[in-house]
């Protein structure tokens, strides 16, 4: 080999080694950002089309504007509304906050996976054994995250602009472009904050928990700021408030990109400095000292399974309880607005009747049902994770039966949901009492119990998949929830086939207290769920365990 050959080979090796973290991380970011981009894009198009088909007269648009334009509850939950007589204003009300929250959660999970999860798994060790430093790995992963954000934005833009062109939505190039930039503002904030959290905490779990709290805190700040109690300045100190202040589509205020960019750059600079001065596996908060665990958690598989999931369950408890509190707080005012608006005909279309408050609650409980379903699915997914990573082998090689192992965990999930439901009902009844929603504790309890069969259905179907086709457990669960949510969205804004509606578990939930509890649906969902659970547990007991 000549000197030139050697130097060329070295250059090639250095190139390969240098960019490997970027290439690996880019695959993950590209895949998920494309998926979310398509989801976001089609959500916007579906909302736009349904607006045009349902609110096709100026009168109906005026009524909508009156119903939600100055409603404190709506503004607190979804931000200020502007010009609901136009499609642009409706799109902001209908989808912007949902996209902010979903986009932020996507950014949190993707960032912590790339920057801390892969380090915990030992992937960084391979990188550092090559020709890159930890700081370079960090920079390359951030570059892949930026590409991911760009893909998300471009995908949403392409779908929105194509929809605008093909369906004559009347949005225009600038509005589409600006909206797509606004959509990635919140994810950018959480990529930046996530990069910092991954230097502060040594485990992905802790980083996720911190970021989840941060998202909740930022949202709560702006919620109070928008509640019309003279604390509007809170919007200016909340990063989610900055995103809200961007005003996508209507009266745009691009200057609010400034605090977002400054905040993000600061986070990146601080985390960059931290990463340059730390060793592999280290973080600001050293969590290598073992947590004091009560010995009662180590007594049996059941007690350990409680310990294992308790942090996640606490988070769900908080999310469900806060949702209950918010519903209790806004039910009365939202209900009185509904009584005077034509939006009630939308509720009538999907089977929600009763007075305004009852209609609002009946409709809003679907959100709690979705939370319960995700809570259930999250637990079933951990079964599969434990099988793949080999922890299940540890239990089964000891004197632990498979049936007991899985039933213990399902019992923990069900009991947790029941407790979360009761706490939610108490909070909802208490807040409702002070704000005159008329929701007694008993009605609240029935309302929550009415939601649990859909959650049991999800548990049953996911357990069935876990027993029969374990590799499809996660897909099956998300498919059931995703499909049901999609059907609900479609159902709310146009005529839909009853057969299609019946395939949604959330459509099967009676909008109690606005309507009577549908006993047949409840029994049907319970029977299918329990049957799925029994068959799933049976097949799990007799199939091969497939660890990595």
């Amino acid at each position: 080999m000549t000197t030139t050959d050697v130097s060329t080979a070295k250059a090639v090796n250095a190139f390969n080694g240098t960019f490997e973290p970027f290439k690996y991380s880019l695959k993950q970011w590209t895949k998920s950002s494309l998926m979310y981009g398509v989801l976001f894009g089609f959500t916007l198009i579906a909302s736009a089309v349904s607006y045009l088909s349902f609110y096709h007269t100026s009168h109906s648009r005026e009524v909508l504007s009156q119903a939600f334009g100055h409603n404190v509850a709506t503004i607190a939950l979804f931000g200020p509304t502007y010009d609901l007589s136009q499609l642009a204003g409706f799109l902001v009300l209908k989808s912007f906050f949902t996209l902010i929250i979903v986009g932020s959660m996507w950014a949190i999970f993707a960032t912590t996976k790339s920057l801390r999860g892969d380090e915990e798994r030992g992937y960084f060790e391979h990188y550092l054994a090559g020709t890159v430093t930890l700081k370079r790995v960090y920079l390359q992963i951030l570059c892949s995250a930026f590409v991911g954000l760009a893909i998300l934005s471009i995908t949403v833009f392409m779908i929105l602009f194509a929809g605008d062109y093909l369906r004559h939505l009347g949005l225009g190039l600038f509005q589409c472009l600006y909206y797509c930039l606004c959509v990635v503002a919140a994810p950018l904030i959480f990529v930046a904050l996530g990069s910092l959290a991954c230097q502060i905490f040594a485990s992905r779990k802790s980083a996720n928990a911190f970021l989840g709290w941060a998202l909740g805190f930022f949202y709560a700040l702006r919620l109070v700021g928008d509640s019309g109690i003279g604390l509007h300045w809170l919007d200016f100190i909340s990063p989610i408030g900055w995103v809200e202040l961007l005003h996508p589509m209507i009266r745009p205020r691009p200057m609010y990109f400034m605090p977002i960019i400054i905040f993000s750059i600061l986070c990146f600079l601080i985390s960059g400095a931290m990463v340059a001065s730390r060793d592999l596996g280290e973080a600001l908060f050293d969590d290598s000292a073992p947590e004091k665990i009560s010995k009662r958690y180590l007594r049996s598989d059941l007690t350990y399974s409680i310990y294992h999931v308790k942090t996640t369950l606490y988070s769900w408890f908080i999310a469900i309880t806060l949702t209950g509190a918010v519903l209790g707080l806004v039910a009365s005012s939202a209900g009185s607005t509904l009584n005077q608006s034509s939006i009630k005909t939308v509720f009538d279309r999907i089977g929600i009747s009763g007075n305004g408050t009852q209609s609002f609650l009946g409709f809003s409980f679907v959100i709690v049902a979705v939370l319960f379903s995700f809570m259930s699915l999250g637990q079933i997914n951990t079964f599969r994770e434990q099988e793949i990573d080999g922890h299940l082998d540890n239990f089964l090689a000891l004197a632990e039966s498979r049936t007991r192992w899985i039933l213990n965990r399902i019992a923990v999930t069900l009991v947790s949901e029941l407790i979360a439901g009761i706490v939610c009902a108490i909070v909802m009844a208490a807040t409702g009492y002070f704000h005159g929603s008329g929701m007694s504790f008993l009605i609240s309890i029935f309302a929550i119990l009415n939601l649990l069969p859909s959650s049991i259905f999800v548990i049953g179907v996911a357990t069935l998949a876990f027993g029969l086709i374990p590799s499809k457990t996660v897909f099956t669960g998300y498919f059931v929830i995703g499909w049901s949510m999609m059907v609900e969205i479609v159902a709310g804004f146009g005529k839909s086939s009853q057969y299609l509606l019946d395939t949604s578990i959330f459509h099967q939930i009676s909008p109690y207290p606005a309507a009577k509890i549908n006993v047949i649906s409840v029994v049907l969902m319970l029977v299918i769920g329990i049957l799925g659970l029994i068959v799933g547990v049976y097949y799990f007991g007799s199939r091969d365990i497939a660890s990595r």
């Binding site: 290598s288 239990f395 004197a399």
Partner: protein
Amino acid sequence: MGSGDNIAIKCDRLTKRFKNVTALDDLTFEIGAGRTIGYLGPNGAGKTTTLRLLLGLIKPTSGSAQIFGLDVQKDKMNIHSQLSYVPGDNVLWPELSGMQTLELLGNLHGTTDVKFRDELIEQFNLEPNKKIKSYSKGNRQKVSLIAAFMTKPKLLILDEPTSGLDPLMELEFRNCIRQAKENGQTVLLSSHILSEVEAICDDVYMLREGKLVESGKLEDLKHYSVVNISIVFRREPPDISSVKGVTILATSADTIRLKFNGDFNELLRSISQGDVRSFLSTEPSLEELFMSLYDK
């Protein structure tokens, strides 16, 4: 219990297929209670599949297996209460400390000799109050080994048990196995470290492509294998290359070095045609035995 009293593990035509791949093919063997067995084979030979079948983690495509006379599929719980398992992929709970892990595993098994556990912790020089995630691979392996030995099970199933251990700890491990033998415990040890198997095992079972290619006492097996021979002659050596089983490694004016795997009488007759000054025959190591069986 009948035959279960003397036979610890019995596999009867055990076969396991994963789609189109046959991982184990018609595996039949018996392991006597109290024996220490080395279970050998190259990567992908089916060692871990056998162990997972014996633990009931996977089902056989055909055939059956018994441990202490009990069917491994039907009587899993009863069997598991009498055995300990150290998996090849040592997966523990990162958020627990070493001691918390031992307590959890001990409670799940149901029988822990706490005094013996503490002795083992000292013997293996483990710092039990650190988080598992902060342990080195060797230290994580120590936790699994202590967890396996501390319950004093009738059967120990060990999959690559010394992976990551330093030489001193390997010696401690061998001491534990010797102690287990003295206590009458049965040990099934899957390993790639042939010197380790040679040092502590009574019998060896060798797998290749899912089939049992050799089994028996180590000293008996060695007779089947290639022997290294070095012969020095006073005069020019005779031609022995035509003897069946001879592989000449080197020749010089008066010396022949060869590998032999055949009928010794025939070889000796050929050699005696020359004037032999010295004859040195060395028994193969387990490594050589292994290589002679697996060298294609």
